[in-house]
């Protein structure tokens, strides 16, 4: 007899509860009697057991260098490493695995473009466009490139909500614009930028688009073909995977025309003192022994994510964000960054306290947030604040986390608002 099983649709709350059970770091007391409330996922996300197991497996069973040896362990490690590349490709919708380059993180991805495409194509009189909300990692490489080439760095301002309007963006584009670099999602404000539209506008003037996807890859659905971006860089560690690994997606034609980045093993075809020919994509940009376990951990994280109902989970995260915004406003906190389209980030100041004071009090209550300028000093300058307290959400974040944040802030309020 055939048993017909109706697929059980779990509510999103149940899904999140199940997800929380998969993160061992969530289940600890950080101080006696104070269970961890983790609201710092924009700095780094916690890791699910599946990722931890994948890393352990590399070192316990498949501890070998890749792409180099005929023995079984090396074959297994190579297969797992390249399987991770395929996982990334599928996750971001890249046309081919040759367009997926493993890096050390978002910063290295951006710097790779700077040293190869940028150095090869920029000259005096050209312009590089960035926005005011960029992380320092998407400002400084371009500043250095401009110093070297004589190109000019042009900045698109944000409005007081923390948005980059299409009008402001378009007004800074010109035929001199050669590279346009901007964040998909602001780490300091949570603003989501209209990547597809901005990319169209940049392409209309013939510029190449580099997207800092460090936050965007975590909280939005990324399809690089649909967005039509030329480069998209992100870090593994914010995507529930290990630190020290990242991805640079680049369009094949651009990558092929670019000179190599670093020289070393794995990136070469033939070497002699008369000259060297380089390996094919993507290996041309991956010199030396990579972070093998890190990449395989990233592959595991992506497969873990792909098995989830991400659309529902993103919607849930947005609902928790709105709940947090309302609760913070009711408490008398000033939100920094109120873009219509935003994700993950609750940046605020409150009670005339220094953000570090708020962070210290919250830590005593087990609540982990980030305080300071969030490597986005121009954003702090725009709002004329020394820094902000920033609570940020991950796939495991709940309304209960926000409630704990508010309880901690109420304690801080008593200390800083007297009488």
């Amino acid at each position: 007899m055939n048993v017909v099983t109706t697929p059980t649709t779990k509510s999103v709350t149940e899904q999140v509860a199940a997800i929380r059970a998969e993160f061992p770091a969530l289940h600890q007391e950080v101080h006696p009697g104070k269970p961890l409330v983790y609201l710092d996922s924009a700095a780094t996300a916690l890791k699910p057991q599946a990722v931890i197991d994948a890393i352990t497996e590399v070192y316990t069973k498949n501890c070998a260098n890749i792409h180099r040896a005929v023995h079984a362990m090396s074959q297994r490690a190579t297969a797992d490493y390249e399987a991770a590349r395929e996982s990334v490709r599928a996750f971001i919708g890249a046309p081919s695995i040759e367009e997926v380059i493993f890096t050390r993180g978002t910063s290295e991805g951006i710097n790779l473009v700077r040293f190869t495409y940028g150095q090869q194509n920029l000259q005096l009189g050209d312009e590089v466009l960035v926005t005011e909300l960029e992380h320092h990692s998407n400002i400084v490489p371009w500043q250095l490139l401009c110093e070297r080439t004589g190109a000019k760095l042009v900045v698109v301002p944000i409005n007081d909500a923390g948005e980059v309007t299409e009008e402001a963006f378009a007004s800074k584009l010109s035929v001199r614009t050669k590279i346009v670099a901007f964040a998909h999602v602001s780490n300091a404000l949570g603003t989501v930028l209209p990547v597809k539209r901005f990319t169209q506008l940049a392409h209309d003037v013939g510029a190449v688009v580099v997207v800092d996807g460090a936050q965007g890859i975590v909280h939005t659905h990324v399809d690089v073909v649909d967005l039509d971006v030329d480069f998209y860089a992100f870090s593994a560690h914010k995507l529930y995977a290990p630190t020290g690994v990242g991805v640079l997606y680049g369009k094949r034609a651009l990558l092929e025309a670019m000179p190599p980045y670093e020289g070393g093993g794995d990136m070469i075809d033939e070497v002699s003192f008369e000259g060297t020919t380089f390996n094919d994509l993507p290996h041309k940009f991956e010199a030396g022994t990579p972070n093998i376990a890190g990449v395989i951990g990233l592959g595991a994280a992506i497969e873990w994510l792909r098995a989830k109902d991400l659309a529902a989970l993103h919607a849930h995260s947005l609902e928790v964000l709105r709940y947090g915004e309302a609760a913070l406003t009711e408490l008398g906190a000033t939100l920094v960054g109120t873009a219509k389209d935003k994700v993950s980030v609750l940046a605020f100041n409150a009670f005339g306290a220094h953000p570090t004071d708020l962070g210290t009090i919250l830590d005593a209550e087990g609540v982990a947030i980030r305080t300071g300028h969030h490597c986005a000093q121009p954003v702090m300058a725009h709002y004329e604040v020394a820094g902000t307290a920033r609570a940020s959400l991950g796939i495991y974040s709940t309304r209960e986390d926000i409630d704990a944040l508010i309880r901690g802030l109420l304690i801080a309020k008593k200390m800083f608002v007297r009488g």
Partner: protein, 136 residues
């Protein structure tokens, strides 16, 4: 009456909750005379990513005296605590003084970790450097 280090030890023993201890530190910081804004210049700023700390040395005869301030309340309290330990000591004593055991006894030694922190570590390093210059 001015707070002494012994007062701090006693109060910390009475307070069970960390938030209460931080509350006491904030009060300790409030007792610290405010630094003139004119002194809050780059030369007097010590390195710290999360909050700002300024420190100015004042020699008073044979002993050293420091005035310091921070823009964060709890750090200001920590600064006040460190000044309780170091002010009125001779340069030789300042060089020799290790603040770690005292802060460890109060459970505050984590605030001393080097790196991008609250400036406390850098402030103590600079005080010791100035004292070393004064001894030579």
């Amino acid at each position: 009456m001015a707070t002494t280090l012994d007062d701090v030890f006693e109060t910390f023993e009475l307070l069970d909750e960390w938030t209460e201890r931080y509350g006491f530190l904030i009060e300790l910081g409030e007792e610290l005379p405010a630094m003139d804004d004119a002194l809050k210049i780059k030369e007097h700023k010590v390195k710290g990513c999360l909050s700002q700390v300024w420190m100015v040395p004042r020699h008073e005869g044979d002993v050293m005296h420091f005035i310091a301030d921070s823009d964060a309340h709890i750090v200001r309290g920590l600064v006040a605590l460190v000044l309780l330990m170091f002010n009125g000591k001779t340069p030789n004593e300042v060089v020799a003084l290790d603040p770690r055991p005292t802060l460890a006894r109060l459970g505050l030694d984590k605030h001393l970790s080097p790196g991008r922190n609250n400036g406390l570590h850098s402030m103590i390093a600079r005080m010791k450097k100035l004292a070393a210059v004064a001894t030579s």
